[in-house]
Symmetry: D2
């Protein structure tokens, strides 16, 4: 039974498509938002933030059909005013409800190319989606999470999605790694500042997808039983997000890596 007085918010819902490993990775991360939404919706009403309604509509429907509560809000994570407006809207949509968990799962700036061919705008896109977008999101979410500390069923949580590029700057992925490294830095700093206040900030490194053919491997090996793709594979990552949220404050995890068992690392 979902608690009506607390809700979760997931930023970064969208539809990713494409053939190359790197697009498969984006797609995987978007699917992760869907999985996280479904998992958290078992306990809380879930607010989905995405740039376009078509990105969240089907998830909202899926959650509602399963008996949960979900709301989609349209906001570009890199647009400060839009994010602020979204948080204002939440107050009206879920009056009196408090924030239990916030997931930042936004990507951008995946230019895979030689450095000398990179445009400054491509670096900007990565920094906008990662540290800057997260900064705006966290400045809205953290005061709400702090308010929830005394009564939240689990320690109020801010969960960030990282990637291999969060800890390794591979050749040709400099701009993407710059954003992901910066995002991890912010996550560490917030964990150290807000942990002692009771808010759990954690960072999940979803391994693969950058310089290994994650996307392809994932489809080919992990979500597969008898040659058919299991739709449940990504849901499993969301279980770890839920576990992070439900960790007791005596046992907070700051960083966790998650990868398919076949992934080389």
């Amino acid at each position: 039974m979902a608690s009506k007085s607390f809700y979760a918010i997931i930023s970064g819902v969208g539809s990713g498509t494409g053939q190359s490993p790197i697009y498969a990775c984006i797609s995987a991360q978007l699917e992760l938002s869907r999985s996280a939404a479904i998992r958290f919706a078992k306990a809380y009403p879930v607010v989905l933030l995405a740039r376009k309604p078509e990105s969240y509509n089907s998830i909202v429907d899926e959650i509602r059909e399963a008996g949960g509560q979900a709301f989609g809000l349209t906001a570009d994570a890199t647009d400060e005013a839009a994010v602020n407006a979204a948080f204002e809207t939440i107050k009206k949509v879920l009056p009196g409800s408090k924030l239990a968990a916030a997931v930042y799962n936004v990507n951008g700036g995946f230019a895979r190319k030689p450095f000398l061919e990179l445009k400054r705008e491509e670096l900007d896109a990565s920094l906008d989606a990662a540290p800057k977008g997260f900064f705006t999101f966290a400045q809205k979410a953290l005061p709400l999470l702090l308010e929830s500390v005394p009564e939240s069923p689990h320690p109020p949580s801010l969960i960030i999605t990282g990637a291999t590029a969060s800890i390794k700057g591979s050749a040709l992925f400099g701009s993407f790694a710059a954003g992901k490294f910066a995002l991890r830095a912010l996550g560490q700093s917030l964990a150290r500042e807000f942990g002692p206040k009771g808010v759990h900030v954690s960072h999940a490194i979803i391994d693969g997808g950058i310089d290994t053919p994650w996307g392809k491997d994932f489809v080919a090996n992990n979500g597969v039983e008898d040659g058919k793709i299991s739709p449940d594979a990504l849901v499993k990552i969301a279980e770890t997000y839920w576990h992070l949220h439900t960790q007791h404050r005596s046992a907070f995890t700051q960083e966790v890596d998650i990868r398919p068992y076949v992934e080389r690392f």
Copy 2:
């Protein structure tokens, strides 16, 4: 309801006492074995390995009183023959039962002293308890875990307890860190070798206790509600061990840090 056909084994049960932070840390790790045993006993019969019966007797009683199954076996983790004998005994105690999870939670060699005062035996004690003891344990456990892959309710798991000293060689803790670093190396190597075969090898870094007053802080801040020590604090770490065991093979974690929310890091 516990599955009768799979069991868990936890090595490193014992009674730690002492006043200094470092002894508090040992004590905490021993308490972790107790907590892990109780948690895994909700699902499986649990075998406890310890040097002395008085180290496991009370835990065995506690689990049995709660309706679970538990068996204590006496074996020094650094004694290869004793460990081998213990695994032989398990076949008789739990005939036909398969290994679902093995937890290595053994410590040794905590000499906190200037390097030039260290005895070679103190380094040996750390290496015996950490890489060598684990080597023996893993060589017995892994073939059993591999056998369990097709039918185990969750991916067969080998979970290693690390510490801050697994990733940082602090002044005066060289011998302890040497053992813990080496243990982590083996864990990484096994994760890479056995993950693709379906066995989940993970390493948990329990932060604190080495160069920070973990023990004291833990008692003073984390297990405390209204000035009284909550006996449930350490149980929370065991929840993450259980989560590691229950991760789907699409989403294995190799390394996780766990610390109280008040811990400085």
Copy 3:
């Protein structure tokens, strides 16, 4: 004897003043630019990039008095057009000369404050100075360094100055760490892309100054002989920069930490 046909460029010269450790750190980094300039000027004409002429004038004079060649150019590292113009000017000032070494030693965004009091502009300042400013600098410098590969007396080098905040996101230093993490990501990526082409990209982590009283310690302990500050202390860091530049391509270092012997780490 300085080679007239190759030059070095150092970006980030300036005058830092202040009392707090963090300002002492900035000041130290600016002094590092001075030291690096003096060290590289023993071998090459040196171009100094700074926002204001008063930041480089005294260094230019010092180098010239010692018989070296130095040129100051005014350009804000975060201003793409100004940086591009500076590189155009170099062609006129040093016609026919080739780039042997480029040092990026720019800082910005040192706001030490609770996250909820941080302004978005403070994060922007850190990202502008670190990954963005470096991006512009590297896009101008790398084509020149590549050209120098066949004839340069030492492998053409791009050296980046990092800090403790490059690898640890401390509480209250999120915005600064975000920039420094991102800068390190770019450095790693470029090392992997341009190393095999013969350009040596390396990253030096000057430890201290962020969450430890580096500035004070440095003055109090390291640059001191008999209670007087030795002006030569920072010069020693520059020796390691020079060593990085002179490493043979059979033995490139990507990352190095440098700290005073009294620094706790």
Copy 4:
């Protein structure tokens, strides 16, 4: 001109041969001892420690022919008594001379094989050569290095050779990595304890050779000019060892990676 009153000692001289990458790696590390000996012999008399005279005889001759001083001593680094005896012999061979630099470059336990085929003796061999042998060496060398602090021309130095396996436990290399991780732990701890006393402890990660075809690449790509192997390639690594030794105490490096420019990492 070599200082007669200070000497250097290099442990781990020997002749490695073989075809596979891993043997090529051992061979490279042994060659590194030779290169380090030759480099340090430009400044100091050098003592070479090896298991067999044939391992050091040619190096001793080479140094003497170049006008330097060198002495070979036979001692197995894993044999405590033999190492102690060697240090006693040094007092007679170089009476009144003080220790300026000690290099630990010993390897052992390179078993590349599936974990379940590993023998306990193979793990022991790795731990004997790495943490245990180093422990004995460091306990003899550090008191001598401490004595040299006031007068040594450069900060007395203890330099440890690591490998990729010092920071990554690759599949099939568990036993080797266990030793190398443990060695790194000791190095970190000693750096933190002895740095403030003026002794410089540093750890060099020679990248390659474990799970990449370092040996082959090295021969094929790095030591090659116009298809011929340059005998000087490994000497370049020794230059960085010498630089570590000559760093001022205001600018100590604890860890450095060194790899050929063509190495993938």
